[in-house]
Symmetry: C2
DNA sequence: CGACGCTACCGTACATCGTACGGAGATTCT
DNA sequence: AGAATCTCCGTACGATGTACGGTAGCGTCG
């Protein structure tokens, strides 16, 4: 498989107390007995993020992190209980790596700015999307701050608390989905050395041989135009902006119905 | 890591001609010389789907497939060039495993039925979401048929071809996102043996210790209510139905603006 | 009808992973 | 000084996909 893989990961497996200490930096004061520690969790996390940014979560191995830090592999386990916790902390740190979003304008402007900012964060740290963080997110400082920021954008406009939560989640889910598509596309290109246009021009004639245009007339018509326009099967950035407008129109309809 | 992993996968890497032959079953007639083949690609794909359904894509290994078929591991490579192509074919077959969606009603009823059907398919084959199939999907018979079905739902209602494509993609992306959340939740529970409610009741008091309610008043207010309602951080099924309504409202607004 | 050559099958081997285990050495407290 | 306690880390295990090359079964041709 080699470059054909991407490791996924989900957290909340280890000791909850230890996990929260790692995330919030509230660990116990260092023991006085024994040798001093030569590393910090932050240094390890920083190196982990570097590797994951450059080569993906699949390329992040404890051996590689240790090597880059000039220590033995097993030394890392003095700082971090397992790779799972390391990735959890990396996740929270990377989420907060971008410039803050100014809370200017109405709810629509704010949600748009938030969506674009989140999209940018995913482009900078594509491996964030490989961390399963929807049902049991790492409850670190950044995640909490972002949750507050998002909710404020839709506060005081007539929605119930549950609706506010749902709207924020919906936008987040959609950004994740389109960002994932964009990242897949970039990754496919860099890993295979084949651009989307080249890929399409290889497969299009092969598809034509087996494709029954009488059976699938609409697909034939739309696929023709979409293929010419995007030079691939799907344009993620266009899909992002288009879909965001539709979704916010839908939110506007909800708000209007409440007024 | 053990159960802490999920392998991702993206296709279109191997020989395109061979890939399309596998997907469409248009391979060359079997050679007359030499021993007969004892297996078929379909049997291998079927076993692959069984394993992936039961234990996830990470548990799908060539060794396990071969073992279950009673052959040596390397024998599989007589039928399939690599694991990547096997997963591509599994993907197309599993996509078409559900009951067909009847094209009844208007565009909204049809898109709703399609979204629910797709959601169900993802629940039956959760590993489908771990196959990166957005930018360069396996161009198999099922994918093509589904594309036609989806486009027909929005055909003839005043949208351009590009808009039709975008609307279908948008709904697809959203279903994927919420289905992913639901699957993560189910997986977290079955892998850890801890329900969402138990997880939340473990983490909530730990979070309270570090959470600053003065700094994050809206998160405190909404999180309180959402936590009580969902007994977890996020309810995927509720999110799916809620978001689908908003998105379709947004599509309705687009259609109205064209009329 | 025997031998040739093609083919399916598959045993072995390699590099890679996370991490359990336990030893060695450093540091501080008694 | 000696005991206690900690950091650091070498080794080992059971996984993974698949390249390579050997073997045995089979159709075809001389």
């Amino acid at each position: 498989m080699a470059k054909n893989d991407e490791t996924r990961h989900y957290g909340g497996r280890g000791d909850p107390v230890r996990s929260m200490e790692l995330l919030w930096g509230t660990g116990p004061t260092p023991k006085s007995r024994g040798p001093k520690q030569g590393l910090t969790v932050e240094r390890i996390v920083g190196v982990g993020i570097e590797i994951a940014d450059a080569e993906g979560l699949a390329a992040l191995s404890m051996r590689r992190v240790a090597e880059r830090l000039g220590v033995g592999t097993m030394s890392l386990y003095t700082y971090v209980p397992s790779k799972a916790e390391l990735v959890d902390v990396m996740f929270d740190r990377a989420l907060g790596s971008g410039p803050p979003v100014e809370p200017d304008g109405g709810w629509r402007e704010q949600l748009t700015a938030i969506a674009r900012s989140t999209w940018d964060t995913y482009q900078r740290h594509p491996w964030l999307l490989a961390v399963m963080a929807m049902s049991r997110p790492p409850l670190g400082p950044t995640s909490i701050a972002i949750y507050e920021r998002d909710l404020r954008a839709v506060d005081g406009i007539g929605l119930t608390e549950l609706e506010m939560d749902s709207v924020v989640s919906m936008v987040g889910v959609y950004v994740q989905g389109t960002a994932r598509a964009a990242i897949e596309a970039a990754r496919s290109t860099s890993d295979t050395g084949v651009t989307d246009a080249e890929w399409w021009s290889t497969y299009a004639p092969l598809l034509e041989k087996v494709f029954d245009a009488e059976k699938y007339p609409v697909a034939a018509r739309v696929g023709e135009i979409a293929g010419q326009t995007y030079q691939s099967a799907y344009d993620a950035r266009h899909g992002f902006e288009f879909g965001l407008e539709r979704i916010l129109d839908g939110v506007a309809a909800l708000i209007d119905s409440r007024a």
